[in-house]
Every structure is written in structure tokens, then in C-alpha cells.
Subunit: 328 residues, 2 copies
């Protein structure tokens, strides 16, 4: 528009291979796509705002990765196969030195998962990115939050806690001297959406969520929607040596693992009968998984540490500390 940016032609159009199910991408009033037969569409929308979800001076390539990876993680949590993405990009001024690395990183991740950018809007205003991703799940299956049953085992992918440690580094430069500070900062932005793991879990998991608000909060979403309780063994939480070194103790690293948000790992539940098939089903994805607890009746989440029950007060404090975004 006159008086508005039109960055789409220059930065976003014609950057990708055309998917066969995309009849029309950028350049008309709408995109036109052909959904597959016998599939449902999974759709998720997420916004990253400068000052809230990333610092305004964060590397643009990291911001692009975080924006797309966090959205793809929602598809992964449903077991969906990614297909299309729409981008709304708001910037104070067109800035080539920011846009180029942003777009390079965005399309690198999109291409890796065969996701095509089908639509976009570029507007003038405070820096923010809203993406709407779409993917496919079978007509009769998807990984929802409401399927966990008493007796199911609780698993997580990957290691937990590093995103929170990375945030410590980003927000307080005094943490930059700690071990693995740079690695953890990068990990905060550059997560790996667990797309392959999610797809492989479609026939095995009874419920699934991606860890964006922190394990305690996100597992609680499963419990609430499934109307069940759980016991969770803090000692079992998977933490990296880098995180333990950064935190100074294994115990502190475990606390990070409990509450760290924007991890974009999956937390899922598996019936006893399918437990022994898990490793085989995930082998081709190279995804580490760890059993961290079990679903039980009731509506409470009981935390155990060294076999001792953590008090409700302590648990509430952890949940309240929870995951804090960037502040202005």
C-alpha cells in the first residue's frame, strides 16, 4: 500500500519451491491451497512481540527461528505434518540489514520441514511477528490433551531447563561468565520442533502437549483436560551436563527443568500396553525420551524428590515463579 511497506515482493515472494497443493501463494487477495483427502487440518497461531518474547536487539536469524519453531512445535504436539504458513510482520521501518538474515533463517527452517509461505502482510508499527501454521493429521487421529488415562506413563522428549538458563544469560549479562552461557543463550532461540517424534507418536500416545509454559504448567493442562492426576519424579527429569554446570548443581538444574518455558519439547502420555513399542517407533527420529512419572486418579499433581513428596506450598511457589517472558 502507499504509505505502508510492501516488503512481500522483495523478501518473501519466490523464495521457495512450490508445493503441489499450493495453487496460489503470495500476489492475490488470498492464497489458494488444496487440502488432502481423508485428512484434517491442524492450525495454530502464535505471536512474538519485541520486548515481550525477544529483546529488540536479538539476532534476527534467532528471532525468525524461534517464531517458526514455536509454531511448528504446536503442530508437532498434535502429531501433524506441516504444510503451510502465513506471516504477518510488523516493523517500525523497513530494515534490510534485519530482514535479510531474518528471511534466510525463516526459509531455512521452513524448507527443512517442506513448509511453504502462502501469505503475508507487512505493516508499519512496533516489531512483532505473527505466524499461522497449518498441517495435516489423519481424519481419525490426533494427539490431543484430553486422552490421558490412569496408569499411562508420562514422558518428555529431549532435555529440559536450558531455555530458562538461556533467558538468564539474555537478561543478566553477569551470567555470561558461567559455563556454557553462549550455548544456552542460543538454545533459548534455536529449539528443534519435534515434528518427527509427534508423527511417530500418533498411534501410541494418549495425550500430548508441547512445553511452552513450563513442564509443571503444561503437564497440568493435560491433567485438567483429561480429568486425571499424576505423580512426577523430579529426579528423573532429563537435564544436560551443560545446564548442570551453568546452574552449579544437579538439584538446581532439576528446578529449571520443572519450570522452564519455551522449551518446545513434547510431554506425552503412553498406555502401559504401548510402552515397549516406544523406543522402536521413535528410533528413526533420533529423539531422546525419558519417563518422568505416571498418570493416576484424582486431580492432583504430586511431585516426588528422592521419594519424598514436595509440599503443595512449594509446588505452588514453583508454579508461580514459573516462566517469565522478557520484561520491556
Amino acid at each position: 500500500m502507499p504509505g505502508e511497506f510492501n516488503l512481500i515482493e522483495k523478501y518473501l515472494a519466490n523464495r521457495q519451491n512450490q508445493r503441489k497443493d499450493v495453487d496460489l501463494a503470495l500476489g492475490d487477495d488470498c492464497a489458494l491451497v488444496q487440502p488432502p483427502e481423508n485428512a484434517r487440518i491442524a492450525i495454530s497461531t502464535d505471536t512474538l512481540v519485541a520486548g515481550t518474547h525477544f529483546l529488540p536487539d536479538a539476532k534476527p536469524e534467532w528471532v525468525a527461528h524461534k517464531a517458526l519453531a514455536s509454531n511448528l512445535s504446536d503442530l508437532a504436539a498434535m502429531g501433524a505434518t506441516p504444510a503451510w504458513v502465513s506471516m504477518a510482520l510488523t516493523m517500525p521501518e523497513p530494515d534490510e540489514s534485519w530482514l535479510e538474515p531474518f528471511c534466510d533463517s525463516f526459509f531455512a527452517l521452513a524448507d527443512y520441514y517442506s513448509v511453504q509461505l502462502i501469505g503475508g502482510d507487512t505493516t508499519k508499527g512496533p516489531l512483532s511477528i505473527t505466524l499461522t501454521v497449518q498441517g495435516f493429521v489423519p481424519r481419525d487421529r490426533a494427539l490431543c490433551r484430553d486422552g490421558a488415562k490412569v496408569g499411562d506413563w508420562i514422558y518428555v522428549t529431549g532435555n529440559l531447563g536450558e531455555s530458562k538458563a538461556g533467558l538468564d544469560v539474555i537478561l543478566d549479562q553477569s551470567n555470561r561468565d558461567k559455563p556454557f552461557a553462549d550455548k544456552l543463550e542460543q538454545r533459548h532461540y534455536m529449539s528443534t520442533p519435534r515434528i518427527l517424534a509427534g508423527q511417530s507418536l500418533l498411534n501410541l500416545a494418549s495425550a500430548c502437549v508441547d512445553i511452552s509454559d513450563g513442564l509443571l504448567a503444561d503437564l497440568s493442562h493435560i491433567l485438567h483436560r483429561s480429568d486425571v492426576g499424576a505423580v512426577l519424579n523430579i529426579d528423573a527429569l532429563p537435564v544436560s551436563e551443560a545446564l548442570t554446570a551453568f546452574c552449579g548443581s544437579h538439584e538446581q538444574a532439576l528446578k529449571y527443568a520443572l519450570t522452564s518455558g519455551e522449551e518446545y519439547e513434547l510431554c506425552f502420555t503412553v498406555p502401559e500396553a504401548y510402552k515397549n513399542m516406544l523406543e522402536g517407533a521413535l528410533a528413526h527420529t533420533g529423539t531422546q525420551i525419558t519417563c518422568i512419572g505416571q498418570i493416576r486418579s484424582g486431580n492432583t499433581l504430586e511431585l516426588l524428590e528422592d521419594g519424598e513428596k514436595i509440599s503443595d506450598d512449594q509446588q505452588l511457589r514453583w508454579l508461580a515463579e514459573g516462566y517469565e517472558h522478557f520484561k520491556g
Copy 2:
């Protein structure tokens, strides 16, 4: 998220009837929808930013209508039937007195077109709204910009120019004493997406665009994509008595009609052979249409006023004046 708003449960969830093709709306990692067989999906994303697309103190019910209507207008321009919408809402602080009228207005318009809100993200930051709307078009038809042929007639729906007059009122209080100022201000925000007209044109129009950047700019999009030229009769542009009274002369009202953006009327082209079917096809929609010119060969847009050709210089000046969004 802790430290983030979760306004979805309170303001957005359970406000609507459930469409039969929506298996899962708000409350999980993704929405799940069932696309119809033998249809393609039309998708459009648009952002409204406070200070750019509306003044921060604009009535929230008007902002909500403008956000959804401008997105639905993109579906109308493809001839699509609306189905689903995702909303990303960014606000500095949760503000009930703003959210309630915003949501009431949003859902009133959504319900009118049987559009269901399937996903949302509410984040902390400068006020903005990004919507992604989706609708259906047949597998073998859609109103694109690239189908105009030499000899086709050029039409617009409704009256033009009122949105620009409304903007005059919004930006300069001294215009509030002019005739119909309040009506035109409201018209700026409260457009009628031409959904029914778009659907009715699916078998008749060779090209279509919605007027968001101004008639001159948007008709140029059709000409560019269709690789044709056109002649446009300024005298034929449909303007209301209210606009003429506000502008002080019919001539000035016609200038507004040429460049006024965010009109959300349709501009479309129709082959000679279908011209006499138009009125019958649109009769049930109650949509006024006006023939304003004709497609011809070449790549130029010739403007005629009283049968006299407007100079290219004048035309460029109009195009450059074009449509300006709110400034800061």
C-alpha cells in the same frame, strides 16, 4: 502463560455456535478442522496496528469490525465462502472495558457470516490485531486478479470515496462540522464485506480485487497481473450524496472515489457475453454495481473525465497521493 495474558478462556472461548467442520477449536495446541471435499481453501492474513490502521482511542467495536471485515473482504474478492478465523491479539494490559465491546462486535460479524473463531493468541505488547481467515472456493474456480481480457467491462460494487472522507474526519477535527461527518467516520470503520456478491460472481467475473489500496492502485493490480490495459471513466464512478455534500462538489467526490483506500468494495471485470447476466446474478444480494470502464490492450490505464484524457502526470500525482494510513 504465567507472566502473559490468558484472555482466551474469558473472552474468546465458547462464544459461538460450533461449526460441524470444526472438531477442536480453542484449548489445545492446535485447532482441528475438516476441509470439505472438492473444494480449495482460500486463506488471507491481515494486521491492524494501533497508530497505523486505527487511532489508539478508536471505538473498540469499530476496530473489531474493521479487522474482521477487511479480512473477509479478501475472501469476497476470491468468491470464497468464509469458514474459520484465527486471532492474534496484542495489548499493553488486559482492559475489560475495551475487550468486551471489541469481542461483542467481532462475534456479531463472525456469526453473521457463520465464521467460527478456531484459534487465538493473546500477548502483551503494543495494541495490534492479526487475523487469518479461511474460506472455500470450488476446485476449478476462484476470482483471481490475472483473468481480465481485452474487451471485458470493469465494474465496482457500492459507492466509493467515503472511507477517505471518514479518515479526514478522524484525523482532523475541523472536518467534523462538514455534512455527514459522523456517518462518514463510521463508514470508514464499518464496511460491508461483499461476500454474497463475490460468490455470485464466481461464474461471471474474469478477474476481481477488493479495494483496499484505492481504486487506481487496485485496478492496476488487475491490469498488471492480467497483462492488459484499461480505460476508466471518472464521471462514471459511483459516489453518494453524503460524500458529495462532504466534499463540497461532485468533482471533488470523484477524486476521492479514485484514490480512497480501505473501501472494501469489489472491483471486477466481466466479459461482454456475461454482461447482461450480471444484474440477475446479483439481484438477491442487494448489491449496487456500476460499470466504470473497459479492459483494452496495452499496459496503460487511461483515465477519462468529460471524455478528455487525464494527463499521465496528473494520474501519477493521484496515485502518489493515494491512500495514506494513520500516521503515528
